[in-house]
């Protein structure tokens, strides 16, 4: 898959632009339904440095999506707080964009792909010509040059997810939150999209927080892996990954460091799952 990034996006590198850091401090979430309390997670503490890819990994049902909704400001945490660029987060902010798992529903079927990408800009009040130009550039950046005139449902699943990423880029966010973004596409497309994320990170210097249940995906993408497990969930391990910035689906995954990190994460998840079962 061809990956071209235009001048416009290339000038936005990590040196020239001050980047936003994301801090998660003692975060906890408890739901109350019918008078019963369900504690989803507690005491989560981690940071996302500018330009870093942080993957949150954990078994299904551990509360990853709830966590991501708290990080994005869609959901209020019960305890602790999230701060972005030093300011506490209470609602969605322009520094942050979310790419949802369900791309087919997050793109509006009555808008052409270009209109979808430009929609947040329209809301910001950006003039028509300008938004069109930015939308085309964002689409080019994700390898969808020329697809803007089509409706989202005329695109394949992988292309729709690229369009959703393009929308986040056009929004000019510093932090990209992704909720199981590649869970609904086939394996080959998934590899392409993973490489797209790494590519965008290194060229644009954006930071990415990606939630996944796939340990391989987490390690392949991440500078830092946050492992969630248990009930209520807590962070059982934070693994820094030193695989460098240039990664490759074939060679990176064969490196001893990759294999080691993989074993470590899996062991942590299993051990904590066993403890939950035993209790």
């Amino acid at each position: 898959m061809e990956k071209t990034v235009t001048q416009e996006f290339e000038t936005r590198d990590s040196v020239s632009k001050p980047h936003t850091r994301l801090d998660v401090i003692e975060l906890g979430k408890t739901y109350v339904t019918n008078g019963e309390e369900h504690e989803i997670f507690r005491g989560l503490d981690f940071a996302v440095e500018p330009g870093q890819v942080v993957c949150i990994v954990g078994p299904s049902g551990v509360g990853k999506t709830t966590l991501l909704r708290c990080l994005s400001g869609l959901l209020e945490a019960t305890t602790g707080h999230v701060s972005i660029g030093g300011k506490p987060l209470t609602e969605p902010v322009p520094e942050m964009a979310v790419v949802f798992q369900d791309y087919s529903r997050s793109l509006m079927p009555w808008m052409r792909t270009r209109e979808n990408v430009a929609f947040p800009l329209e809301s910001k009040g950006v003039p028509k010509e300008e938004r069109r130009r930015v939308a085309e550039e964002a689409l080019t950046a994700v390898g969808l040059a020329g697809a803007g005139k089509k409706y989202p449902w005329q695109l394949s699943g992988g292309m729709q997810q690229r369009a959703a990423i393009a929308r986040a880029l056009a929004y000019n966010a510093d932090v990209l939150l992704m909720d199981e973004p590649f869970a609904s596409v086939d394996a080959q497309t998934r590899f392409d999209l993973e490489d797209l994320v790494l590519d965008l990170r290194s060229r644009l210097g954006i930071s990415v927080v990606l939630v996944t249940h796939d340990i391989d995906e987490a390690i392949y993408l991440a500078d830092r892996v946050v492992v969630l497990s248990g009930k209520p969930a807590s962070i059982v391990d934070i693994v820094d990954i030193h695989l460098g910035r240039d990664r490759d689906q074939l060679t990176t995954k064969a490196q001893p460091e990759f294999v080691e990190a993989r074993a470590r994460v899996l062991r942590q998840i299993r051990r904590n799952a066993d403890e939950v079962d035993a209790s």
């Binding site: 869609l74 964009a97 979310v98 949802f100 009555w110 808008m111 947040p120 329209e122 809301s123």
Partner: protein
């Protein structure tokens, strides 16, 4: 066991033409069969002429009616009052429905009332309406509006209320303004539902129009049909019945096309 219609889609053009011809012939054969049985039943007086006239008498009346001005006047009266009532109901129901749809409190407060209104057989209001407004065209249109406002209202409310959670999150994350959210998200999402409501309402409007004409002695196809039956001309009554069926089909077809155009993204999107 492949069917004619599925075969139509896969085979080459010359064969397709042959299959289409076969389908047409089969359909015609069914029609001829129905008429033959009907003719035999009428010819041997299984039922009296007053009950079942010969199909050829009905056909003769059917053709003859098309050349009379009074038929076309009653046809237009039925059509105009149905469409007029539909338009008024549309203008009332869509704004109200949208308001209810985006204001959950209002929607909950009026739910019971809407259910009551929807299940109320409006035609039962006819005697009261005749007392109040007489057997006028205004009375006819009023009854039609009262009857067809509900399907449009309910569909509009439903369509604007059920916002996909992912869409809701997306508009929040990108901080989409209220105005844009209404015109570019809520309204397009509700449009297919409104269109369905209007299509359903259109056939109800024709039905009510004919019912009011029949019972309220207001001019229109329903009145002409009832009068023909009372005058002992069941052939003319049946001809009107066929015309009313054709009118119903026509209206349904037109609004179906309209609906298809409005939900083009849905129709195509579903093919995936």
């Amino acid at each position: 066991m492949t069917s004619i219609t599925t075969q139509l889609k896969v085979v080459a053009p010359p064969q397709r033409a042959r299959l289409r011809l076969r389908l047409g012939l089969a359909r015609a054969a069914v029609g001829v069969g129905i008429i033959a049985v009907w003719w035999i039943a009428a010819h041997f007086d299984w039922l009296s002429d007053q009950i079942l006239p010969s199909p050829f008498d009905v056909l003769r009346s059917f053709v003859a009616l098309a050349f009379t001005g009074s038929f076309w006047i009653s046809f237009l009266q039925t059509l105009a009052s149905a469409m007029g009532g539909l338009l008024i109901a549309f203008l009332i129901a869509v704004p109200v429905g949208l308001a209810l749809g985006i204001t959950p409190v209002l929607e909950r407060m009026t739910r019971f009332l809407l259910d009551l209104g929807r299940s109320f057989p409006v035609i039962a209001l006819l005697p009261v309406m005749i007392l109040l407004l007489g057997t006028s065209a205004a009375m006819k249109v009023t009854v039609i509006v009262l009857g067809v406002v509900w399907p449009i209202l309910l569909q509009t409310t439903y369509g604007s209320r059920r916002m996909d959670p992912v869409v809701r999150d997306t508009t929040k994350i990108y901080r989409i303004t209220l105005r844009l959210r209404f015109f570019k998200v809520v309204l397009p999402a509700a449009a297919p539902f409104i269109a369905t409501g209007v299509r359903v309402a259109a056939s109800v409007a024709i039905l009510l129009s004919i019912a009011v004409e029949l019972l309220g002695r207001t001019p229109g196809m329903g009145h002409s049909l009832g009068q023909a039956q009372i005058d002992g001309r069941p052939d003319i009554a049946l001809a009107y019945l066929v015309y009313s069926g054709l009118l119903g089909m026509l209206i349904n077809w037109i609004f179906m096309r309209l609906e298809d155009r409005i939900i083009v993204w849905n129709a195509l999107g579903d093919k995936d």
